[in-house]
């Protein structure tokens, strides 16, 4: 993916760029909102925008881009972490909001999730990952020929993992998207939910689909 980082802290931007490059992405950098307006182009799949910058700040930049018809997904980076700040960022046209400081693994996972979002057809009724299938209308989940019974929350959890199949999904992303919580319970509650889900979709099968990615989160992966 080609990603544009808009961040006035050049050291921080460089670290982020390095991490994303190592994850196989192409990275451009802009030091402020005005430069970003010049640099941003159709070829960028995700914009990473710092909220507080000199000249044009992050919110203004994204509002400007959106009014210019640019629909590229935006991930806000911010030192402001209150619920109100997050709401303000998303309302301005941001697609995700990450509070500083963050783990690089978290940033990469979110950027990749945003990049995927663009290509996902809106009216998808069936999700498939290897021999695992999920029908979003009948809410049937099967692996091969075997029907799998899931609790409502397990269904939501698996749905999110399947929509982001082959990508790393962090615990925080799961908490936000499956449970709607914007805080970290600081315990292993998510791990337990994952291991339950694993017990249902992987336990009796030769190939495990749901992997744990050390230091980052989980990944649903059908490939070997």
């Amino acid at each position: 993916m080609r990603i544009l980082i808009v961040e006035d802290d050049t050291d921080a931007a460089t670290y982020i760029a390095k991490a994303l490059s190592e994850a196989g992405h192409v990275v451009d950098m802009a030091a402020n909102g005005e430069d970003a307006l010049e640099i941003a182009s159709e070829s960028h799949e995700v914009l990473i925008v710092d909220r507080m910058m000199p000249k044009l700040d992050g919110i203004q930049l994204v509002e400007q881009l959106r009014s210019d018809g640019v629909v590229t997904p935006v991930l806000f980076l911010s030192a402001l972490g209150k619920v109100d700040d997050r709401v303000e960022g998303l309302r301005a046209g941001g697609d995700d909001y990450l509070v500083k400081p963050f783990a690089m693994a978290e940033l990469i996972a979110r950027v990749e999730a945003l990049g995927r979002r663009k290509g996902t057809p809106e009216a998808q009724t069936k999700l498939v990952c290897g021999d695992l299938e999920m029908d979003l209308i009948t809410r049937d989940v099967r692996r091969g020929d075997i029907k799998i019974d899931l609790q409502p929350r397990e269904f939501k959890l698996l749905e999110y993992l399947m929509r982001n199949a082959t990508r790393v999904v962090t615990r925080t992303m799961l908490l936000e998207n499956v449970w709607g919580y914007h805080f970290d319970p600081q315990t292993n509650v998510i791990d337990v939910h994952i291991s339950r889900l694993r017990g249902k979709i992987d336990k009796d099968f030769d190939k495990a689909l749901l992997e744990t990615v050390r230091g980052a989160g989980y990944r649903l992966n059908a490939a070997d």
């Binding site: 400081p101 805080f183 319970p185 600081q186 337990v192 939910h193």
Partner: protein, 460 residues
């Protein structure tokens, strides 16, 4: 030296005193004017009435007894020191009888006239003022009946004289009284100003003096003092947060730095470096968690805008948290029971309320031994307040420690090493404070039950 300078006019006390004086002078003048007018007019009317009665009496007598008879009566009445005055003249105004020597002033029949006349008092002759009426008898004879009004004149003159004195006195009293009154009030206002200045100069402990009269100024002062108390408490809280941040972040940061420094002292191999870095990163993560918790507590304690709070379905929120924790509880061999009444609504911040429930449940599960149970309940109490309660069957907390547990950063003996564990309940306490909710710890026999009860929300 100027008596009144413009600055004096601009100050409130001067204007208040002047206004007070003017008001007093006006009132006194009106009052006195009324009194004067009433008295003078009344006496004058009395005089005229008496004169009229006498004229009609004399006219009647003239009809009966003729000119001679009338002259006799007038001569009779004119004798002595009476205050009545008479003069009977022929049509050519030549005196026939009476105690006046000549017609005093030009007049037409029926006129009321005022004039001065010479009155013998003892051996002296003095000029007195008189009020009289000119009456014409049949036959063209003129009759003048009057009354010495010198006493009335003197009374009026004296009243007018005292009016000036009274006016002057009212001015002095008014100004003086106004000044005293204004000074009394403004001195109290000045004392508020003085206190405000002292506080601005940095002495936060200053408070406005109360006069003890419980009047408007006292109430204002009391409110100001209450406001100052609140501000001071907030500032103290802030200071404590800063201290706590310093304490809770400095030590781990120091540890982190020491580790890096010591690692680099001798020439370690790659694996040692790696271990040190992994440890350092883990430590940094813990630091961040602590920092985030501190920020959240700060946010909750500083009090969100009450108007930004929304209607929160406590039942759903609690149920969701219970559901989130259920697998973890089961794994730990703990039975998590949810006894949740439906549709319990409160006013609040859903994110903070969820976080408070999470922290309490997390804590409860941490301290409950395997095989025991934790009960999460939502309902309304006997007072009608909505509540949620988390009851564990762990070791509990001694009742004497309840207060301390809720204080930020206070960790029970022995759990100090568990990073962040002390912040959980502090955050819960801050959330309760923000929502004006009551937080009660009680013995669950065995274990600890924590209940947060919210002010009643009647309608969504």
């Amino acid at each position: 030296m100027r008596l009144i300078n413009t600055r004096a006019i601009r100050t409130s006390w001067f204007r208040m005193a002047l206004g007070y004086a003017v008001l007093l002078i006006i009132s006194v003048s009106v009052l006195f004017g009324l009194l004067y007018w009433n008295t003078a007019v009344f006496v004058a009317e009395q005089t005229e009435e008496t004169i009229e009665v006498e004229i009609s009496g004399l006219a009647e007598h003239y009809q009966k007894a003729g000119l001679v008879g009338l002259s006799e009566v007038i001569q009779e009445r004119s004798r002595g020191q009476r205050l009545s005055l008479y003069l009977l003249t022929d049509p050519n105004r030549r005196p026939l009888a009476g105690n006046l020597n000549s017609w005093p002033t030009a007049s037409k029949p029926g006129d009321w006239i005022d004039f001065e006349y010479q009155r013998p008092i003892g051996s002296r002759i003095v000029e007195h003022r008189a009020h009289a009426r000119h009456y014409v008898l049949p036959g063209g004879y003129n009759l003048l009946v009057g009354y010495d009004v010198q006493d009335q004149v003197r009374l009026e003159r004296r009243m007018r004289g005292s009016m000036i004195w009274i006016g002057a006195l009212a001015l002095i009293l008014g100004l003086g009284g106004g000044l005293l009154m204004a000074r009394h009030w403004l001195r109290r206002i000045d004392s508020v100003n003085k206190t405000a200045r002292e506080i601005m100069d940095g002495d936060m402990s200053r408070r406005v003096q109360l006069s003890g009269s419980d009047d408007e100024l006292d109430r204002l002062a009391r409110n100001l003092n209450a406001m100052l108390d609140r501000i001071e408490a907030l500032m103290a809280g802030l200071r404590q947060v800063t201290d706590n941040i310093a304490h809770d972040l400095r030590s781990p940061l120091n540890r982190l730095r020491s580790r890096l420094e010591v690692t680099m002292m001798d020439d370690p191999d790659k694996e040692v470096y790696r271990t040190a870095l992994v440890d350092t990163m883990r430590e940094a993560d813990e630091l961040l968690k602590t920092f985030n918790a501190l920020l959240l507590i700060g946010e909750a304690e500083s009090g969100l805008d009450w108007s930004k709070l929304e209607t929160v379905d406590l039942s759903t929120q609690t149920n969701d948290v219970a559901e989130l924790y259920e697998p973890a509880a089961e794994d730990a061999g703990i039975t998590l029971r949810a006894e949740i009444a439906p549709d319990i609504l409160v006013r609040g911040n859903p994110n903070l309320i969820s976080q408070a429930i999470v922290n309490l449940l997390d804590n409860a599960l941490k301290y409950t031994p395997s095989g025991e149970s934790v009960v999460v309940s939502v309902g309304t109490d006997s007072a009608g307040d909505a509540f949620f309660e988390i009851a564990d069957s762990g070791p509990g907390i001694p009742a004497s420690e309840y207060e301390n547990v809720l204080n930020r950063f206070v960790r029970l003996e022995g759990s100090r090493s568990t990073v962040g564990s002390g912040l959980g309940l502090s955050l819960v306490a801050a959330v309760a404070k923000l929502h004006q909710a009551q937080l009660v710890l009680k013995d669950n026999e065995p274990g600890l039950a924590v209940r947060m009860s919210f002010p009643r929300l009647l309608s969504a």
